[in-house]
Symmetry: C2
Subunit: 455 residues, 2 copies
């Protein structure tokens, strides 16, 4: 759709929503009839809270569950809050178990209980097996109960296993491209591609056509590491195994795509105090409250910088040029540090930083900072000389720029390494710490040198 077509579509939707709010939902229902849960979630998220609820109330129960799964956390919780227990139970009843386990923490306990009570015994057991694991590890991403065959079965009986599975479960598993191969005690041995089952003779043993691969994922592997394995080895699905190597589940790449999308959103919202579950269209008061905290943290930083400046108020009083130039010193350090920090955060995400690499990277960044510091110090010295005609001021300015640039790259390299060793995601708040440091050092060094050498 072009941008115009899209705008027109949304205008029509707006009109249909107004009609539905006035008690005539026919046009709205017709308009959204073709959209699946994922597309509906996208449309819902871009509405304000009132029309959002009008739309939600006109979605069929069957698609409502998928909308909850596909929505960002804050949006989902808003919808759940506005919906009665019976409607919610109907909505989530038919969800895939791995989807249900992604949202179960947001459901009211009595809704979850009634859904669990109505589950067939076997489904209930699989769900309980999934719920044990936190959402952000292999166990939380996997679907339990993968279809598996023995290595000494032949190709024809492997196909029969799949047929039996369809009869028992009523449907084939989604996204199936391979069957798992396990030994008699359930230990994972490898996979056999469905394509290989199709092209090989029925009496060949699975052993001869299977792929033995060591890409089985430990159940407690972090979601980020799972994603990296899928990327590095171009996997479509992978086996999840317990400590003893027994097959307990299967992760498919569509779950990994969701992990990557969440990572990208977290990067986009880094250093804003917001997370990837944030509702873009939250009501003003809710949105204001969430952002106020972050502004408050920043205010404390800014006031610390102000306090440092005020230590030198007499110096500034005697040489106002210092006040004019001091933001330049602070910002050059901040920018150089931000460059180092972004590269180091990426290197950590790519798992390139360990052992002696840390020192190698730090040395390299300091060298880069020193070189760029020298270059830009010469430029700023020339600018300041032309501007204020004061060689001593130029020298102090240039020195402060070099020092703060070095400080910036040092902190930009060290802070993310330190945070990640402490188990904190450096992308979330590293930038705030960095800027607080480069501001404080930038103002302090420049004004301090000025008060020593120029007054």
């Amino acid at each position: 759709m072009t941008d115009e077509a899209r705008a027109r579509w949304h205008e029509q939707l707006q009109n249909a929503l107004d009609e539905a709010a006035a008690g005539k939902p026919e046009r709205l229902c017709a308009k959204i009839a073709d959209l699946d849960g994922s597309a509906l979630a996208d449309v819902l998220e871009a509405l304000d809270s009132e029309p959002r609820l009008v739309l939600w109330n006109n979605i069929t129960a069957q698609r409502r569950g998928q909308v909850l799964v596909e929505s960002h956390g804050e949006v989902r919780r808003g919808l759940i809050e506005a919906t009665d227990a019976q409607t919610l139970a109907d909505a989530v009843q038919g969800l895939d178990l791995d989807d249900l386990s992604d949202i179960d923490a947001d459901l009211p306990p009595e809704v979850l209980r009634s859904v669990l009570e109505r589950m067939p015994q076997e489904r209930r057991q699989r769900f309980d097996a999934l719920r044990v694991y936190p959402d952000d590890c292999a166990g939380g991403l996997m679907d339990a109960d993968p279809v598996s065959v023995r290595p000494d079965a032949d190709v024809a009986s492997a196909a029969a296993t799949l047929r039996r599975h369809r009869e028992q479960q009523g449907a084939l598993p989604e996204h199936l491209h391979a069957l798992m191969v396990t030994d008699d005690s359930g230990r994972y041995l490898g996979m056999v591609e469905l394509a290989d089952l199709l092209v090989n003779d029925g009496d060949r043993p699975v052993r001869e056509v299977m792929t033995r691969q060591d890409q089985a994922l430990p159940v407690d592997l972090s979601a980020a590491d799972v994603a990296r394995r899928f990327e590095d080895h171009n996997l479509l699905s992978a086996a999840v195994v317990d400590d003893a190597g027994r097959l307990i589940g299967r992760i498919t790449v569509d779950d990994v795509v969701d992990v990557l999308r969440a990572q990208a959103e977290r990067s986009q919202l880094a250093n804003t105090g917001l997370d990837n579950e944030t509702d873009t269209f939250a009501p003003t008061l809710v949105a204001s409250r969430r952002r106020a905290v972050w502004l408050g943290v920043n205010l404390v930083n800014a006031l610390i910088a102000a306090a440092i400046i005020s230590l030198f108020d007499e110096t500034i009083d005697q040489l106002v040029a210092l006040a004019v130039l001091m933001p330049v010193v602070a910002s050059m350090g901040g920018v150089a540090g931000t460059q180092s920090m972004a590269l180091v955060i990426r290197a950590i995400a790519l798992d390139q930083v360990h052992g002696s690499t840390r020192w190698r990277l730090l040395r390299r960044e300091l060298a880069v900072g020193g070189l760029n510091g020298l270059l830009w110090a010469l430029v700023v010295a020339a600018v300041a000389l032309a501007w204020f005609g004061n060689p001593a001021l130029s020298a102090v300015f240039a020195t402060a720029v070099i020092l703060n640039l070095m400080m910036g790259v040092f902190a930009g390299t060290g802070i993310p390494m330190l945070l990640s060793r402490l188990g904190v995601d450096p992308a979330l708040a590293g930038g705030v710490v960095l800027v607080a440091l480069t501001d404080a050092v930038g103002f302090g060094v420049f004004l301090g040198l000025g008060s020593l050498l120029l007054i």
Copy 2:
């Protein structure tokens, strides 16, 4: 691997590299024997340029091609530059065609020519069909020549088609979970899952077991939109069609995972002047040059802010407290604007911003900015009053904070919308424009009000 085990592994690698550099490559070769191209690329990228080349020279030709494909652009170009034409041709000869078309622009023309000349006619034609399309659209991501069957074929003959394909090509296509279904003129009709071919009787027509789906991707769809389709509909693969709806290729989800990873890396490196092809471990001089440009852009911004401050140097001379507090005004506007900008960039990426949504979002952000402005203006006024005991100064400070916060959210909302309408990725440089504005307005409004009302 634990962090310690990983550090030990890298230490051993370092020793093996030193030995190899001294002419004894046996230990190095043993150490890397088990690693595939992707893992080797990861290891290579975390080395400095000299050991990187030692490692590269000890990799077997067969894996070298994959290493080139998996490396970031700058690393890849460095390896290519250091390698003679014959070695390069051997390395890339056996690559999958979609991989080869990802890196062909980086290969020396004579190497590419010799590789193309040695290709069998049929492979050469498929490659030429792929090369027509830019890398960042559906055509650039797809693999040409998907396996397709007719809807009136039966299940057994569909399996036979796959068997024939294996005989002709020597292998099955990677990641195959479904065959494409096309009509006699090659128009795309849907897919038939391999699982359905396995569980259904051989004489059922494909028509009855296929999935008719409208998720065919136009060949010129952007890579970002391709990724969103895969995410929204949990696809493993999708058909690529031309204007007439004819099937011309197939995109698998592993290519989409690479697109998402590149997006995440671009977000991480936003506002640093670096892109996702940057070599983290580039030599100091190369790294310095790349970053210097960005520091220069920032210096211009900072000097503009300094020039605005210098307009008011007499005012500061009379009331030094203005110089102490002015960075607070600038930074509160910058932080509020960064929050708005991050949310709007995410909303644009989620395709939530069009038509009237723009105004709705802008109004909401201004309301949020106004509320938070009022809140923090009261706080800063109280702090300033306690600090300097000057009610008029407090009032000016509070007013400037409100105004700059509003300015921040206005610019933070408007700049990404404007940039994206102009076809520029707002994530790349929006932050720099924003901070330049909030600095200029913050200093200008605060010092301007101060000179009017306080002196």
